[in-house]
Amino acid sequence: MLQTTALQFSYAGSRAFHFPDIATQKGSPLLVLGESGTGKTTLLHLLGGLLRPQSGSIRIGDTDLAKLSGRSLDQFRGQNIGIVFQQPHFVEALSVKENLLLANYLPGKKLDPSRAEDLLQKLGVSSSSAKSTNRLSVGEQQRVAIARALMNKPRILLADEPSSALDDKHCEAVVALLREAAELAGASLIIVTHDNRLKSQFDHQIHLT
C-alpha cells in the first residue's frame, strides 16, 4: 500500500534525517516509535505529503508522492491520505457535519453527506452533527477528527501522537478506535508516536533513532 525507499530530509542548517524504508501491508497497522528529535514529525509530514523529501520516494499505490507538486499534490493528499493530529483542530465557523463535508470539497470531490452521517454514527458522535466543533468534549473532537480523516476513503490513515496526552485507559481506547476506523474505511493505519505504551499493541513496528 505504502512503500518508502531511501527517504532523506534536512532542515536548513541542521543534520539530515535518513529514514528507514517503510512498507505497510493491508490490514496490518504500523507503529512508528521515536523519541523527540528523531524526525518523527518530519516523517509524518513527509508521508502526509506536507513536506517534500530531498531524495527517495514515497509510493502510495502507483503514485510517487515525492514526484507530485502543486495542485496535484494537494488533491492527491486530500483524496488519499487522512491525517489525525494530536490536537484536533477544525474550521471553527463550520458545524461538525460541515467540517466533514469540507474534506470532500477541498480536494474537489463530490459532497457525500450520507457518508458523513454514517461515519459520525459509527464513531458514536452522530448526535453532534449540527453542533459547533468547539462545543464538543475533547473525546468527541477526536472522534470527529477521525471521521473527517476518513471522509474520502483514504488509502492511508496517519495518526500523530494520538495517545500521548491520555491516561492508560483512554490510550487503549483511542488506539482501538483508530484500528477499527481504519479497518472500516479500508485504510492502512500508521501511528507515529513517542508513547511506549503502544509498543505491545502492534506487531509491525519501526523505531527511529
Partner: protein, 417 residues
C-alpha cells in the same frame, strides 16, 4: 459547501471585528453617497427652475433673496415694484420674454402667486384637469400642491395673508380651483396660481381707504378680458418680473440700466446661483474629504480584521491544506472575505444614504415645499459601489497572500506544540 459560503461563515464566526469593519465602511459609503445625491439634487433643482430666466427684477434688497423668492419660492420677497416701471422693460428690445408675478396669500403654506399664463408656459406646465383661470379668485394648482392639499377642480378655499400659513384668513373671498397641472418637477408643482387681478382685488377689498380703491370700479370692467394687464393698472404693484433676454449682450447693459435708472433691482440669475453654489461647495468638499478618510480608515480596519483573524486561524488554514486545499483556494477564500465585507458595507451604505435622503426630503418639503428624488442611483454611486469593492479586495490582498504562502508543515508544528 462552497468557498463563498465558507468565507461568509468565517466572517460571522468573529462577529465583532466584522461588525466594526462593516460599520466603518457603511459610514463612509453612506456619507459619500448622501453628498453625491444632495449635490445632484440641489444642482438639478436649481438649474431646472432657473432655465430660461436670465434676470429677475424686483424691489431693491439682496439679489440672492430676490432670486430665491421669485424663482424658487423659498425666501420672502424683497418688496414690491410699481407695474408701470416694470412695463418699461417689457418694451425694451433686449427683452425677449417678460413674466410678471405678484405674491398674494398662501393656503396652508402653499403660496398663491398672481401671474399670467406665460408663467405656466415657461415651465412647460400642462393642464391635467379643468381649465385656466379666467375670473378673479379662480386658481390653477400645481401637481404637488393639489395632491398635498387634497384639492380638486371645483373646490373652494380661503387664503391666509402673506407667506405664513397661520396668517390672517381672508374669509370674504374664497378661491375656486378651476384647473390642476400635471407634474413638471419644477417650482411650478408647489404653487397655487391665479391672475394678477385676484391678488390685487383681495387686498383692495381689505384696504378700501387706499388710493387704489378709486380704481376699483374701473378695474372690474376689464377683468373679464382673461386677466390681461392693461395700461390703466398703472398704479398697481407687483413683486417681481422674470426676464429672458434676447442675446447675452443684454447682460452688459440691462442690469446696469435697471439698477441705476429705476427704483428697481435687477439680479442676474447665473451670477447669484454660482455664488450660492460656491458657498455650498466649501461645505461639500470638506464633508467629502471626511468621508474619504472614513473609507480609508475602514479599509485599514478590514485589513487588520482579516489579518488578525488569519493569524488566529493559521492552524486552521494549514489544516485545510492537509485536507487538500490548494494555496490559491485559501487566497480566494480570504479575498472573498474582504469582498463580502465591502459588498455588505457598500450595499448598507447606499441603503442608509437613501434613508437619509428620504428624511432630508421630508424636511425640505416641510420647510420649502420641495421634494427630492432620492431613490434613483447616480452613475457616481455606481463608481462608488465598485470602488468600495476594489478597496475591500485590496485590503484583503496582503492577508490573502500570506494565506496563500502558508507553510503547512511549519504551521502544524507550531500549532501542535
Amino acid at each position: 459547501m462552497s468557498l463563498a459560503r465558507l468565507s461568509w461563515k468565517n466572517l460571522w464566526a468573529r462577529p465583532w471585528a466584522t461588525m466594526i469593519s462593516l460599520l466603518l465602511l457603511l459610514l463612509g459609503v453612506s456619507i459619500i453617497s448622501l453628498l453625491l445625491q444632495l449635490n445632484e439634487q440641489l444642482d438639478d433643482q436649481f438649474k431646472k427652475n432657473i432655465r430660461g430666466i436670465d434676470l429677475v427684477v424686483g424691489a431693491k434688497g439682496s439679489p440672492l433673496q430676490l432670486i430665491l423668492s421669485a424663482v424658487y419660492h423659498i425666501d420672502n420677497p424683497t418688496g414690491n415694484i410699481p407695474l408701470k416701471e416694470a412695463r418699461i422693460l417689457q418694451k425694451n428690445p433686449l427683452v425677449e420674454s417678460w413674466i410678471p408675478m405678484a405674491y398674494g396669500d398662501n393656503y396652508k403654506g402653499y403660496r398663491i402667486l398672481g401671474t399670467d399664463w406665460s408663467y405656466v408656459e415657461h415651465y412647460e406646465g400642462m393642464l391635467r384637469e379643468g381649465a385656466a383661470w379666467e375670473e378673479p379668485f379662480e386658481t390653477v394648482l400645481g401637481a404637488t400642491a393639489a395632491e398635498r392639499l387634497g384639492l380638486g377642480v371645483g373646490d373652494e378655499f380661503f387664503g391666509a395673508h402673506g407667506n405664513v400659513a397661520e396668517g390672517e384668513v381672508h374669509e370674504e373671498h374664497p378661491y375656486l380651483v378651476t384647473g390642476i397641472l400635471s407634474k413638471t418637477e419644477t417650482a411650478l408643482d408647489q404653487l397655487i396660481l391665479t391672475s394678477l387681478n385676484s391678488v390685487w382685488d383681495i387686498h383692495d377689498h381689505e384696504e378700501p381707504a387706499t388710493a387704489d380703491s378709486a380704481h376699483d370700479d374701473h378695474e372690474h370692467d376689464h377683468e373679464h378680458e382673461e386677466g390681461d394687464i392693461h395700461d390703466d393698472d398703472e398704479d398697481r404693484d407687483i413683486t417681481a418680473v422674470l426676464i429672458k433676454w434676447r442675446n447675452p449682450m443684454a447682460m452688459m447693459t440691462l442690469p446696469r440700466f435697471i439698477n441705476q435708472e429705476t427704483s428697481m433691482q435687477a439680479a442676474v440669475t447665473a451670477i447669484e446661483i454660482n455664488r450660492l453654489f460656491d458657498l455650498f461647495a466649501v461645505g461639500i468638499t470638506t464633508l467629502r474629504g471626511i468621508a474619504m478618510a472614513i473609507v480609508f480608515i475602514s479599509a485599514i480596519s478590514v485589513f487588520f480584521s482579516l489579518y488578525n483573524s488569519l493569524r488566529g486561524r493559521a492552524y486552521e488554514l494549514a489544516l485545510m491544506r492537509t485536507m487538500g486545499a490548494g494555496g490559491n483556494t485559501l487566497l480566494l477564500m480570504v479575498l472573498l472575505e474582504g469582498f463580502w465585507l465591502a459588498l455588505l458595507g457598500a450595499l448598507a451604505g447606499l441603503v442608509l444614504s437613501r434613508v437619509g435622503m428620504a428624511i432630508l426630503s421630508s424636511l425640505a418639503e416641510d420647510a420649502y415645499r420641495y421634494e427630492f428624488v432620492w431613490w434613483n442611483l447616480l452613475p457616481e454611486e455606481g463608481i462608488l459601489f465598485i470602488g468600495t469593492l476594489v478597496v475591500g479586495l485590496i485590503a484583503a490582498a496582503i492577508p490573502a497572500w500570506s494565506a496563500y504562502r502558508t507553510d503547512i508543515s511549519e504551521t502544524l508544528r507550531g500549532g501542535a506544540s
